[in-house]
């Protein structure tokens, strides 16, 4: 019977494949088991896979776990869908990890499973994003930077490049983006200080975070204001588009440009000298802080509470703010000398 023959062949191939797969995975598990013991095991769950930003956070975790002799693993859902982290959380609880760090995809859908984790004695810490309104479901949160200081920090960076005087403009995203507006308000507050009083804000343009529109708006700023000395664009799309516009119009370095973006997106412009320096927080530093803090909480060395100060090895002094939030630090400035240390 020819049919039988095919069926048995398929089964042979299937079982061979299966055995190979099990063998490969079993090996892996044995290694993990041998290395465990009384060591703390830490897992970090990013929002989704394949995002260089989260790879930097992972690098921070790895570094600290290596220093402190903890076992580290990371596993991310394939999509940043609101419930995609729930099965992963359940599995990690069942695996018996000691610390779960997570960049949550949902502010509220994870509540129940995070409660389960904490009931099982696991320290739960959110990284990069928090559970707004549901802070009671995690032990602490580590966030990138003090966002109320972003505006002033950007003005200082631009001012230092133009001798703190001359006309400046802002290229923002959309008119109603809350974070953009908060930062612009911060910039205006800074400009009211005596140190920046010779810098004059002449226009705020909005590129809607679309590359083409942002480029057009940037070109518009250059033609409308011939005396323009500097542009600040606190959005990665706007900053890249403005850099392109400056490069095409050959207006650098007479017009200084800075803003917020990631090193990967700006590397070319920094190497070409179009942009001298720009800023963002450091996700790797955030990972280091989160990991070290979680370990200290698990070991009972740090007890979260508003206003509580603590010191972490190789990181330094920090304190808990409202809702047990810990801020990683000020913005990091990336320039020609430092940009190649970062890969996100």
């Amino acid at each position: 019977m020819p049919n039988r023959c095919i069926v048995s062949k398929v089964w042979v191939v299937l079982s061979l494949l299966g055995m190979l797969f099990f063998a490969a995975c079993e090996k892996r598990e044995t290694v993990q088991n041998n290395s465990s013991g009384s060591r703390l095991s830490v897992v970090y769950i990013p929002k989704n896979t394949g995002n260089p930003y989260f790879n930097e956070i992972v690098a921070g975790f790895e570094e600290v776990c290596k220093q402190q002799g903890c076992e580290f693993s990371t596993i991310a859902p394939s999509t940043a869908e609101a419930t995609s982290q729930i099965p992963i959380l359940k599995e990690q609880i069942q695996r018996g990890v000691n610390i779960i760090a997570i960049s949550p995809n949902s502010p509220d859908a994870l509540n129940a499973v995070l409660d389960d984790a904490r009931k099982a004695g696991i320290v739960v810490i959110t990284v990069d994003a928090d559970l707004a309104g549901n802070e009671a479901h995690r032990d602490a949160s580590v966030l990138p930077t003090d966002f109320s200081k972003v505006g002033e920090s950007q003005i200082e960076l631009l001012g230092s490049q133009i001798g703190y005087q001359g006309e400046i403009a802002i290229l923002s995203a959309t008119r109603d983006a809350p974070n953009q507006n908060a930062w612009i308000a911060g910039m205006k507050d800074a400009l009211a200080q005596p140190k920046y009083s010779k810098m004059k804000l002449v226009e705020i343009a909005y590129g809607d975070d679309e590359p083409q529109k942002s480029a057009t708006e940037a070109e518009g700023l250059l033609t409308k204001h011939p005396n323009l000395r500097g542009i600040v664009s606190p959005t990665s799309v706007g900053l890249a588009a403005a850099a392109q516009a400056l490069q095409i119009a050959n207006k650098y370095p007479s017009v200084a440009l800075t803003g917020l973006s990631t090193p990967n997106q700006m590397r070319k412009f920094v190497q070409d000298g179009v942009v001298k320096a720009f800023q963002l927080w450091s996700p790797r530093e955030m990972g280091r802080l989160a990991c070290s803090l979680a370990i200290s909480i698990k070991q009972g060395k740090v007890k979260p509470g508003e206003g509580v100060e603590f010191e972490l090895p190789e990181i330094g002094k920090r304190s808990f703010g409202k809702n047990n939030v810990v801020i990683t630090g000020p913005l990091v400035t990336f320039d020609q000398n430092t940009i190649n240390e970062y890969h996100f």
Binding site: I6, L14, E26, S73, I75, P87, E91, N111
Partner: protein
């Protein structure tokens, strides 16, 4: 047991053995039963989808329907509607949304692929219009259905609901006139018409059933997550169709088994859980699940001896 059911059964057994080998944490009955709760909503949709695909149709809107029901129900309860009433309205809404699909397919003679592709966007769109980006909390006392157990404290309520419904509709599909007519229409709609089967009415009821299942699943998800959001269960329809086809239901209609669908759902759950516990990367999990699907179809094809292959697969 039919041959089509042996494939998912065999693979399920393999997955359970593999799970134990991959991780020492896998063989834990309580944990395994608990983890079914994550797949029960998918399972309910699979029950409806088995009928829909048996008919030779498709319902791409099932997950959007679920999301709209969960949003509407949570909103009603938040407005102070009595829980029993609100939940009934929610499940009724799901059924209505299914009937809308059914009417368009049966009486406007539109292809179900296009109709439900449209309502996939439409139902989720309405949910988003209703809720915006915000989430609505479900009343505390109704939350956590996945933590309610049958007496004995081991079998979670959602799994029990799923088993009972799957059994009931499995019998309906295999043993009743209604079920046989669904299969007959799937095999040959024109011939069924000539055999005095009221094809339109059956198509309508099957889409209503798919909607009913989405309604129940929507309320269940509200209770499990404790919040409703318009983007919950996004993309779930693909998992539902995958499980249904894995279970041996012919994508061309005319051939279906609820036992197969049930086993296929457990198979997918077991693969997810065993790979997840072994910390296998999600990309690799997706690859393995895709490979399992392709292999199952290949084995199924060999079993059913579809020598002519291709579209002729519908001819028994």
């Amino acid at each position: 047991m039919k041959r089509a059911e042996l494939v998912p059964l065999g693979l399920l057994a393999a997955a359970m053995i593999a799970g134990g080998m991959l991780s020492p944490h896998f063989w834990d009955l309580r944990y395994l039963l608990d983890s079914t709760s994550l797949h029960v909503e998918t399972g309910l949709l699979v029950i409806g989808m088995t009928f829909v695909i048996a008919l030779g149709q498709i319902d791409l809107s099932a997950a959007s329907n679920l999301a709209l029901v969960s949003c509407a129900t949570a909103k009603l309860l938040q407005m102070g509607v009595h829980p029993a009433v609100g939940i009934c309205i929610g499940i009724g809404l799901g059924t209505m949304l299914g009937i809308v699909n059914g009417l368009l397919v049966a009486y406007a003679n539109l292809p179900s692929f296009l109709v439900t592709l449209g309502t996939l966007a439409l139902y989720r769109g309405i949910a988003q219009a209703l809720m915006g980006a915000a989430s609505v909390k479900f009343p505390e006392s109704l939350c956590g259905i996945d933590r309610w157990y049958l007496p004995g404290g081991i079998v979670p309520v959602p799994f029990a609901v799923f088993v009972v419904l799957a059994a009931a509709f499995g019998v309906a599909l295999a043993k009743t006139t209604f079920g046989r007519r669904v299969i007959a229409i799937g095999a040959n709609s024109t011939a069924s018409e000539y055999s005095a089967i009221k094809v339109n009415r059956i198509v309508l009821s099957v889409f209503a059933l798919s909607g009913l299942m989405a309604g129940i699943a929507g309320v269940m998800m509200d209770s499990r997550l404790g919040v409703a959001r318009y983007d919950h269960a996004r993309g779930l329809e693909l998992e539902v169709i995958t499980a249904t086809v894995l279970g041996g239901t012919s994508i061309y209609g005319g051939k279906a088994t609820m036992t197969g669908s049930f086993l296929a759902l457990l198979l997918m759950a077991a693969v997810h859980v065993s790979l997840g516990l072994a910390n296998v990367k999600t990309e690799i999990q997706l690859t393995i699940i895709g490979a399992v699907l392709v292999l199952t179809l290949a084995i199924g094809g060999v079993f059913s001896g579809a020598k002519a292959g291709g579209l002729a697969g519908r001819a028994e």
